[in-house]
Assembly symmetry: C2
Homo-oligomer: 393 residues x 2
């Protein structure tokens, strides 16, 4: 986020703003501009990038000194992108840190109106209470509403000097409403649905962690490890997503295995082992209910207990016949099991676990993947707990 | 889907087509048209409705007799919407039933090109093999690609008589690419993520059904019942969605309860009952990991064992202090438990279960909801199994 000094930049900016204001847009030109914006928004890789073209357009095509997009997050609105010169000072710092409260008069006004709000003098309008203290003299606010009329976010563009918004500027602001804002709303909906899908898949894996307090945190830790290793091995984003989902769900087949076996404090007998060894196949058939899961996710679920030498289960695959993501995941899964405490063993040290992985390279594990894993973490991961945390994601 | 007679409609349509073809669009007019289409697409409630404006535009603004949108679904493309006159006959029937195979030459060509394909004479182009047999003489095909370049769908517009596509028509078709098709791709992505989120939440509930073979199917049956009752009581779509998610997850807290208690073949003792009764609170705290879950979903999870007279758990709420969706769900949950077989009891008949619900109206249950439930199903639901099936959804 650019936060420029206000005083120093104002004169130059004013001049620039005036040049643009003379350049009034015809109706057809506005259509072209909106269409270009639409294409830019659609081409953006994420919502933060998608909202930038409109913010840039505000700065370039109106007198606005700067603008920001605020997105609702519970009861506050957080800035997700900004362009041009933004207000500075403690009040702005607070907004950047804590968000703009949803009961800010401007946001309340946007909630009850689906039209943009344009205010020439923020000190004269009750809707813009609070903005004069930020140094904002005039502003244009465009609501982003979902189809039920709920406010999802808002584009705010401001000037630091007093400014009477021209008809041409108002027309431009109005033209962005319904197209660019509608598109933004759909992108926000897509983003929310993607996050929710991911959260639900993670919760599915965590349901097992909940059942077995001893493996608590295993799903998150092993997922973070697998993603880090996958990234270092150059997997593309699509494969990483499939790997993440496979990691979440790798042991889901264990939901079908009774506690008496799963949590048995003694050694398992042969019948019980046979039951445990059904979990990859049960997991795969359970996950067949999720038609959107890619093949690589299912490969992790079915084949994470295969071994490089062919002595694993369920299919006894060997070497490169084992899907790559499953070979990769197996190394991470065993590392986390070794370095975690169990009722029957202490947690291994990082070094001890790496030595064990090395000794099994070419036997249980793909040797190239073991090398990559060790290169990734020649020193211990920053203590057991944070392996699952932000350091590795 | 309109499937009109070809021969009878052709002459009139040809005339119409020619009128439009004379009406060539300037660059600015095209921008206006695309912008209008964009607004219509954004305002549409679902993907099927969203693709219609472009199909209509093809029929109105080009010589196309008709057009359809095909969406990828595994290895085939299914028609999701059509406008104007469509081909008829056995080959078309087969496409409508089984979809257009992904290895159809045209779809393969669209996969390797991100530009529209326009063919004046389908009998002369290898890319349009198969189309002459449908009676399609000329066609325009516009690919819908995701950002990785994967083909998600295609707009196909056709004429039954030979037609040389004009430059104006080609310009219009090209102008829809990148804006309308990009927007369609994002809507498809949103739709897929929404479906995946729902599938994952359902799977989370089903994981419990898997663990306890005896309650197999309970999640789906009780969800279908609750939605049917909710709809009859006039709940809006947003509340119905929250109710569906709550129904999927109502017993998720049981993941924390060991098999020895959950599947105990004998009567539970007081300690075990106390453990069972923790499941609504455990479920709510587990589901707090899913920040997108609405309050009504959490209300179902926490309060589905409350009773109208205040004798339920976990909070001992009474009457209207119990959230409405939880009161509604409780009736469905008990109905399904009564009419299902358990190791300790036979399945009750529909009539017997309704009599039990009636006798508990005003005690366990909100009497108004019991009345609504009985009105919904004065006769038995069409046998136990299909209560969960399409009849009720």
């Amino acid at each position: 986020m650019m936060v420029g000094g206000v005083a120093g930049l104002l004169p130059a900016k004013r001049a620039g703003g005036h040049v643009h204001m003379q350049n009034t847009l015809s109706r057809d030109e506005t259509a072209e501009v909106i269409l270009t914006l639409t294409r830019q928004v659609l081409a953006a890789p994420d919502v933060s990038s998608a909202v930038r073209p409109l913010l840039e357009a505000f700065v370039q095509r109106t007198a606005a000194d700067g603008g920001a997009f605020f997105q609702v997050d519970g009861s506050v609105f957080h800035a997700r992108a900004a362009q041009g010169d933004m207000p500075t000072g403690p009040a702005m710092e607070s907004i950047l840190t804590h968000g703009l409260p949803g009961d800010t008069p401007l946001l309340r006004a946007l909630t009850t109106s689906d039209a943009p709000i344009i205010v020439d003098d923020t000190s004269q309008s009750p809707e813009t209470a609070g903005f004069p203290a930020l140094g904002v003299a005039s502003l244009a606010a465009v609501p982003v509403l979902d189809r039920q009329g709920t406010l999802l976010g808002a584009f705010l563009a401001h000037t630091f000097a007093p400014h009477a918004w021209t008809e041409s500027e108002s027309t431009f602001v109005a033209a962005t409403t319904g197209t660019i804002t509608g598109l933004t709303a759909r992108l926000l909906a897509e983003e929310a649905a993607v996050a929710a899908r991911d959260g639900a898949l993670r919760a599915l894996g965590m349901a097992l962690d909940e059942r077995d307090r001893e493996t608590k945190g295993h799903t998150d830790r092993v997922t973070a490890l697998a993603l880090r290793l996958g990234r270092s091995l150059g997997l593309d984003e699509r494969t990483l997503t499939a790997l993440r989902w496979g990691a979440y769900l790798h042991d889901i087949g264990k939901v079908c295995i009774p506690d008496t076996v799963l949590r048995k404090p003694d050694q398992l007998d042969e019948t019980e082992w046979r039951l445990i060894r059904t979990h990859p196949v049960l997991g795969q058939s359970f996950c067949a209910q999720l038609p959107f899961l890619p093949d690589d996710s299912l490969a992790v679920i079915r084949h994470h207990h295969e071994q490089w030498d062919g002595n694993g289960y369920p299919d006894g695959l060997a070497g490169e016949a084992i899907p790559f993501v499953a070979r990769l995941f197996a190394v991470c899964d065993v590392y986390d099991a070794l370095t975690s405490e169990r009722w029957y063993k202490q947690a291994w040290t990082h070094g001890g676990a790496l030595a064990e992985l090395s000794s099994q390279a070419g036997r249980k594990f793909d040797p190239a993947i073991v090398v990559a894993f060790i290169e990734l973490a020649p020193a211990p991961f920053p203590n057991g707990r944070t392996v699952a945390g932000r350091h590795l994601t």
